[in-house]
């Protein structure tokens, strides 16, 4: 029995189609990433799976139970961390945790071993009010509360959004630790670099799934010639390459630009073109596609 099984799931809000015939399934013990920007449909999908929202069409089962007919039983077995901090700001860390343990009919002691890796970092602050915690600590508390009843599956909706790069890394390390304990985890994120930390990912945009595979599998499907390229004037580099008939696309990618050409070209040819345009300090190399390159290539055209 797959912990999550979705068939042709559709959801609209008035005229906006938030989810269009989504189908996917998640394997037991998998760390599965739902990767896409705002408005892609991630939160709508999470709300349906956690039984907070009813789909218009299609079917979804969590732990073998139907999200519409068996919602009460699902709620007892899942852990959920919603997109916004949703704990009680005026209760302390400890009080929040005790509250969630109690409503799930358990206690902090009973499942302490499971949350220890996460909770130990905020335990020194257990008397502090949740509203006064830093962003990183709030995340850890929310995760502890989602785990306290030993769920079979965790749903984490954008747990790292708006959080700095260091806290993000720490959070993913915690997730990998939890996965080792056998918990299935579905996590959404707009950060494409986090995708590579998952077992499998689904790229989602405008309510549609673009691709589902392991990160390596998605990258392997990228079939266009890609180069990392820079010169002493990056802005001009982008403008010049955009005007070149050989270019399929050129985008800034941090220190380098990523150039996709219409056909495979020897690096020398690109270098000659740029020198003619007056560029200096030219650096070009072939580049393996990142998840972000793949996402951008799969996305429907942006106006």
């Amino acid at each position: 029995m797959k912990p999550v099984h979705i068939q042709q799931l559709t959801k609209s809000y008035n005229k906006v189609k938030a989810l269009s015939e989504i189908s996917l399934s998640i394997d037991s013990g998998e760390l599965f990433g739902l990767i896409g920007p705002d408005g892609a449909g991630k939160t709508s999908l999470f709300r349906i799976l956690t039984t907070l929202l009813v789909p218009d069409q299609g079917e979804a089962k969590v732990l073998g139970l139907d999200v519409v007919k068996d919602y009460k039983r699902i709620r007892q077995k899942i852990g959920y961390m919603p997109g916004r901090f949703s704990l009680y700001q005026d209760l302390s860390v400890e009080e929040n945790l005790q509250f969630f343990a109690t409503i799930f009919g358990t206690s902090i002691d009973e499942n302490y071993d499971l949350i220890k890796g996460v909770y130990a970092q905020i335990e020194p602050f257990k008397k502090r009010r949740a509203g006064q915690l830093s962003g990183g600590m709030k995340q850890k508390l929310a995760l502890s509360c989602a785990l306290i009843h030993r769920p079979d599956i965790l749903f984490l909706d954008e747990p790292t959004t708006g959080v700095d790069a260091v806290s993000r890394k720490e959070f993913w390390e915690m997730l990998q630790g939890l996965q080792e304990k056998g918990i299935t985890i579905l996590v959404s994120t707009p950060y494409m670099d986090e995708a590579s930390l998952c077992d499998r990912i689904a790229l989602i945009q405008s309510g549609q799934i673009l691709s589902i595979d392991s990160p390596a599998g998605i990258v392997a499907k990228f079939d266009k010639p890609l180069y990392a390229i820079r010169s002493s004037n990056m802005y001009q580099l982008i403008l010049d390459l955009r005007d070149w008939h050989r270019t399929y696309s050129i985008f800034p990618f941090g220190e380098y630009g990523h150039l996709i050409t219409r056909q495979d070209l020897p690096i020398e040819e690109i270098s000659v073109f740029l020198k003619q345009k007056g560029h200096e300090d030219i650096k070009i190399r072939r580049q393996t596609a990142t998840i972000e390159d793949c996402f951008m290539e799969l996305m429907p055209a942006v106006a």
Binding site: G36, P37, D38, G39, A40, S134, G135, G136, T161, G162, V163, D164, A165, V166, S167, K169, P190, M192, Q205, M234, Y235, I238, F251, P252, F253, G254, E255, E292, F295, M296, M299, V302, A303
Partner: protein, 242 residues
């Protein structure tokens, strides 16, 4: 002396009771520079930005923005800057046209100037046929690009961008940065905070705040050399974890 800099700060400090949120930070930002202002959440970035945009009075130290003093000339500062953040940019229940006219008016533009420039802005963004649509009905990426253009509408010398590309799709994110480059090319000074470390690479110089102090300030290339790493992401991790 300080007036030659777009933004100048010396020993700028903000305290809330016994808690020091920003501790004696100093920097000078050139006109037309794209300056990345990075730091973990809680490091003091927002507090620092609020002092520079005339919204919060410093506890100590000095600063000028567009040549104006942050203690005594905050209204002059506000008129000469643009501001855009992820959390708030435009009014969702007003149309595209109404938003542009509203912000133009708030920044003191004359009605005629607004009318003339509005067509240009809408054309540039491909929004002419959407001018009477509610902003709330636009996809996020279009909203962000529109908000940026509105923040520049009154032709400020300096624009403050607070995590402008949060949550936006990767193509729009890059189109947005090309708009930033275009503005910088025209001489606008750009002061931007972001959590995307690849975006830190687009900046001329970057500062990283840690617990109220500026722990590093230099070009991305120099910072990577200094810390012996390949990416701004790694620079950040080394500093913020130290």
């Amino acid at each position: 002396m300080e007036k030659q800099w777009a933004i100048w700060a010396e020993g700028l400090t903000k305290q809330f009771g016994s808690f020091t949120a920003v501790r004696e930070i100093s920097f000078s930002i050139r006109k037309g520079e794209v300056f990345g202002f990075l730091g973990a959440n809680g490091a003091g970035k927002t507090t620092a930005m609020r002092m520079l945009t005339g919204l919060s009075r410093p506890s100590a130290g000095k600063a000028t923005v567009a040549g104006y003093d942050v203690y005594s000339q905050t209204e002059s500062i506000k008129r000469r800057i643009g501001y855009m953040s992820q959390k708030f940019s435009l009014y969702e229940d007003l149309t595209v046209k109404e938003n542009i006219a509203l912000f133009g008016g708030i920044y003191g533009m004359k009605r005629r100037a607004i009318k003339e420039k509005m067509g240009e802005l809408l054309g540039h963004l491909n929004l002419l046929d959407k001018r009477n649509h509610l902003v709330g009905s636009l996809p996020l990426g279009w909203k962000q690009k529109l908000a940026f253009s509105v923040a520049l509408f009154h032709e400020p010398e300096i624009i403050f961008l607070d995590e402008p590309t949060g949550g936006v799709d990767p193509i729009t994110r890059r189109q947005f940065w090309e708009m930033i480059y275009q503005a910088a090319n025209r001489g606008v000074t750009v002061f931007v905070t972001t959590h995307y470390m690849d975006e830190a690479e687009y900046c001329d110089r970057v500062s990283i705040m840690v617990a109220g102090d500026i722990a590093a300030l230099d070009t991305p290339t120099a910072l990577k050399e200094q810390f012996g790493v390949d990416s701004m992401d790694q620079v950040f991790v080394k500093l913020a974890r130290a």
